[in-house]
């Protein structure tokens, strides 16, 4: 029942980052993208925990490049969002949009 799986906030952020980067979506740029846009600092460990989980759910797929010397001879692991992931994202957006509809945040609470 993947359609009923709920996407966490951070999972959405990671999926969106992978989508935005397209061809170039591996660990380092993904992390930089998230840090740049959300202004949150993020550890490598936290990112891979989420990516691994997303892959387990079938939301993303990954593959490896040739070994790269700057990476100590390790490969880059590229990610792409799978159709299931796209569906989950779309659903999350709809849910959020439905909830936001007609909501007007009072000025005093805004941005506190």
């Amino acid at each position: 029942m993947p359609s009923r799986e709920h996407l966490g906030e951070f999972e959405q952020i990671v999926l969106l980052a992978v989508l935005r980067l397209g061809e170039n979506a591996y660990g380092v740029p993904v992390r930089r993208e998230i840090e740049k846009r959300t202004q949150r600092s993020l550890t490598v460990g936290a990112l891979y925990r989420t990516l691994d989980r997303l892959e387990d759910k079938g939301y993303v797929a990954s593959w490896f490049s040739e070994p790269v010397p700057e990476r100590g001879g390790r490969s880059k692991r590229y990610f792409r969002v799978e159709p299931l992931g796209v569906r989950a994202l779309r659903q999350s957006r709809q849910e959020l949009a439905a909830m936001w509809e007609g909501v007007d945040l009072p000025k005093a609470m805004h941005g506190s």
Binding site: V28, S41, L42, T43, Y48, P69, S75
Partner: protein
């Protein structure tokens, strides 16, 4: 090329991620290569693996509170824990004290082991220093001076000249015992070192210069020496003009060219007083010449790795050279051992220290285990008392994980307090332990350079121990207390006392008793062994016998002069007032030096290991060892070194059962035939408590005179005799260093280690017993306090107070008894390792195995009787209203 990450970082990633470890590490490396990382950043990345939820947004459990605030949650946990502990000062004090004692003894022992065997050498850039040893297989024979893992000079030269990984490779011969001549001759421990020794270690002399190539080329002329700072200060009064002067070592002049820097005492546990070029070996150790002998192990190698060269590269490069050396001898196979240099690098010594260290750490680890069980028990009891608080927190939505984390923070805080206090105890106990051990070493043991305090390694050990301790004693109670159904479970079984945590508490008590039982029985065995060593009769006369030893060969005596000297010495000593007998022996009885050889019986296959001693005819009368068959050596046989031998009774029984051994022949070393002329009564002349060894007495012939010691039997006090003996020897040769000691002192060689072990084990056992009994007391009094109501009901319904008391005692003693049995069985299984210190006692000595458990059980009985009595003294009416 990107650098390698420290191994703990790599390990953390590998442990946390099976699939993504390489990708994550690659990302880290890429950032690092791009110059985006700092060591601090790197460690933060790695440590975020340990504490889930730190380091980034994270949504594993969407229903949970936002973990962005984990760190602040941690702070609030910490503040809460600190408040809780402050509110229960009694509990906190007992827990912290128990943990600090446990951590204290552990860290103390570790400090000693670290100082002896783990610490890198105290030289600049010590982590680049590698020690090189070898084990050789497939060769028939190899000569050894020191240890078999040492190198010959030609081998050293190959490794030094052909390697590509070391900026320098030095060699030295660590054990050199020479006489410094002068008004007051003294024995010194020095070293023979290769010419680059001070350069490789980066310890240039503070005064004068280090060895130059020409020093090493010189043989007899131009002999030079570098003094240690210590020798320079103590013997030469820190004379700044020492450089260029001449000193006399083993009766030959050496020019002082330098004084080593302050505090540098070489790289061995025994401090070196001086260093001479390795080329002067034959000059200082007369009668031997090991230079250019390709199969003589006598040199220790220390190298300095070139910058950026890893250990594995060093090993690989040196192995190539080893392979090349192997090709010179068919069948030879050399394995090199290359490690970071420490004070105890010699593999043979390391093995011994490792065994002792493991036993010691196991013993102190047991004390810590008892302490942990104790605190775990206290925590369990307290958690039951906190059920209301915990139930409330659970019901308002705290997750179990969150609760466990908070309870663990509390136990971590206890552990940390205990760790800090324990480390203070360790610093203090380290000094005390060192002083204690050093002051109980036997006569003649050289001073050891292990007086080093705690360092970063010790600190790290204490910290790891503390963290581990906190988890060990905190986790089970935390899991137990935070059970979601804790409330109902406790409600249902409030009376019977058969709750799950009641069972856990009993298991913990049983563990404590079992572990302290092992420690106490070991202590009991060792004390029995010590008593045995103190009271044993070695089977010969030890009282009023002095041993007199000197180094004739080092002083340039040849066989003829040595024979002359010994005859003169014996005459003059015998003429001293109060002296009645003087004898010669190659080894004094029960000294720590032993001589052995291989012999065979003509016409029979097989060879036998045998220990032997060369003695003069007076030896047997002086020590009161009777000749039970045959005759004693004649003076002529002794003087000429005739091929005759006196065997011990056990030897005769073993080789010629039911035959007359007199006239039989033994063949020594495959060539020398000796005829048996007498049989001596068995005595423990070689090992204390062992009299049934095969043992031969041979005449002290002319070839042996150069290494004979003298035994002097006198009726007067030792002090006056000793003075007379020294004067008599010096009247023949004033340049000799004479060591005069009581023969009884040799017993200390055996008793000393036994005393150290017995006292250490006794102290640990007592500490363990104390902690265990506090645990028993705590559990019983807690159980009693929980059952006041039940007891009240029983008493009201007419139960006899004595019966109630014995019921409580029976229930309390059950886990104690089970633990005791397990402890006894466990100790019986391992007590064999102590047999070396029991001097003939069985390692299952019934006295220790019965008396010690009785003591422990009675103490435990008292510990549970006190609270049990209190329970039956309460007024039933008060008890019923309780709660």
């Amino acid at each position: 090329m990107a650098p390698k990450f420290p191994w703990p970082i790599v390990l953390l990633f590998r442990l946390r991620f099976r699939r993504s470890a390489e990708s994550a590490l690659g990302d880290l490396m890429e950032e690092w290569s791009a110059g985006n990382g700092s060591p601090h950043w790197l460690w933060r990345q790695a440590l975020s693996m340990l504490w889930p939820g730190t380091g980034g947004p994270h949504t594993t459990y969407p229903h949970k509170r936002n973990n962005m605030h984990t760190l602040s949650a941690f702070w609030s946990d910490l503040r809460y824990a600190a408040r809780t502990l402050r509110k229960n000062p009694g509990f906190t004090a007992v827990a912290v004290l128990a943990i600090s004692l446990g951590i204290g003894v552990n860290t103390g022992i570790f400090t000693v082991l670290n100082g002896v065997a783990l610490r890198p050498l105290p030289v600049p850039g010590a982590t680049d220093i590698v020690s090189v040893y070898q084990s050789i297989h497939g060769v028939k024979s190899r000569n050894v001076h020191g240890a078999p893992s040492f190198f010959s000079w030609p081998e050293y030269k190959s490794y030094r000249d052909d390697n590509h990984v070391l900026s320098g490779l030095a060699a030295y011969s660590p054990f050199l015992d020479v006489t410094l001549g002068g008004q007051q001759p003294q024995q010194l421990f020095g070293q023979l070192a290769s010419c680059n020794y001070f350069d490789v270690l980066k310890e240039p002399p503070a005064l004068g210069r280090a060895f130059s190539a020409s020093d090493c080329a010189a043989a007899r002329e131009g002999a030079v020496v570098v003094l240690s700072d210590n020798l320079w200060r103590t013997t030469f009064a820190a004379d700044p003009g020492m450089v260029g002067r001449s000193i006399v070592l083993n009766r030959q002049p050496f020019t002082v060219i330098g004084v080593a820097p302050v505090g540098f005492q070489g790289t061995e546990p025994i401090p070196a007083a001086f260093w001479a070029p390795v080329t002067m070996q034959a000059m200082l150790e007369r009668g031997t010449d090991w230079f250019d002998k390709p199969d003589m192990s006598w040199l220790v190698l220390l190298g300095r790795a070139k910058p950026g060269v890893s250990r594995s590269q060093v090993r690989a490069d040196m192995a190539v050279i080893a392979g090349r050396i192997d090709q010179l001898t068919p069948g030879r196979k050399t394995a090199l051992q290359i490690e970071t240099g420490t004070f105890l690098s010699i593999p043979e010594a390391r093995k011994y220290v490792t065994i002792v260290g493991v036993v010691l750490l196991a013993a102190v680890g047991m004390v810590l285990l008892i302490a942990c069980a104790n605190v775990a028990n206290l925590l369990l009891a307290r958690a039951a008392g906190r059920q209301k608080e915990i139930a409330i927190r659970l019901s308002v939505g705290a997750s179990r994980g969150r609760l466990i984390r908070q309870l663990l923070t509390e136990s971590m805080l206890i552990a940390l307090l205990g760790g800090v206090l324990g480390s203070l105890i360790a610093v203090w106990s380290f000094e005390a332990i060192m002083d204690f051990i050093l002051s109980h070493l036997p006569h003649g043991t050289p001073p050891l350079a292990v007086g080093v305090g705690p360092d970063i390694r010790v600190l790290g050990y204490a910290l790891l121990l503390t963290l581990g301790t906190g988890i060990v004693f905190g986790l089970v109670p935390a899991l137990q207390a935070s059970r979601p159904d804790v409330n109902t479970a406790l409600k249902q079984s409030g009376i019977g006392g058969k709750t799950a945590d009641g069972f856990l508490r009993h298991v913990l008590v049983g563990t404590q008793v079992a572990v302290s039982m092992v420690l106490l029985i070991a202590a009991g065995l060792l004390l029995r062994g010590l008593y045995q060593a103190q009271t044993i009769d070695p089977g010969f006369e030890m009282k009023n016998v002095a041993t007199v030893s000197f180094d004739l060969r080092g002083q340039g005596y040849d066989d003829t002069r040595a024979g002359l000297f010994q005859r003169q010495a014996m005459d003059r000593l015998a003429a001293l007032p109060g002296v009645d007998t003087v004898a010669e022996a190659a080894n004094a009885p029960l000294s720590d030096s032993h001589r052995g050889t291989v012999f065979s019986l003509p016409g029979q296959p097989g060879t036998y290991q045998v220990e032997l001693n060369e003695v003069s005819p007076e030896f047997f009368a002086l020590l009161g060892i009777p000749i039970v068959r045959g005759r004693i050596l004649t003076a002529t046989e002794a003087r000429t070194g005739a091929p005759v031998t006196i065997v011990t009774e056990s030897t005769a029984r073993q080789f010629w059962p039911n035959q007359d051994p007199i006239g039989k022949i033994v063949r020594m070393d495959d060539k020398n035939d000796m005829q048996v002329i007498g049989v001596a009564k068995d005595a423990q002349v070689s090992h204390l408590a062992r009299s049934n060894e095969t043992y031969l007495y041979l005449p002290a012939g002319p070839k042996q005179q150069v290494r004979m010691q003298l035994l002097v039997h006198g009726v007067d006090g030792f002090a006056s005799t000793a003075t007379g003996i020294r004067a008599a020897i010096h009247s023949i040769d004033p340049g000799l260093v004479v060591d005069v000691a009581r023969l009884e002192d040799n017993l200390e060689v055996w008793r000393g280690p036994s005393r150290i072990a017995a006292i250490l084990a006794g102290a640990l056992g007592a500490l363990g017993m104390l902690l265990a009994c506090v645990g028993v007391y705590g559990v019983v009094s807690y159980a009693v306090s929980r059952r006041v109501r039940e007891i009240g009901i029983r008493l009201t319904l007419g139960a006899d107070a004595r019966e109630v008391k014995s019921l409580i005692l029976r229930q309390a003693m059950r886990p104690v008894a089970i633990g005791a049995l397990i402890g006894i069985a466990g100790c019986a299984a391992v007590s064999q390792i102590l047999s070396g210190m029991l001097f003939g006692l069985s390692s299952h000595d019934p006295l220790a195995f019965v008396a010690v458990p009785l003591v422990l059980l009675s103490v435990a009985l008292v510990a549970s009787y006190i609270p049990a009595r209190r329970a039956t003294q309460v007024d039933p009416m008060v008890a019923l209203r309780y709660e």
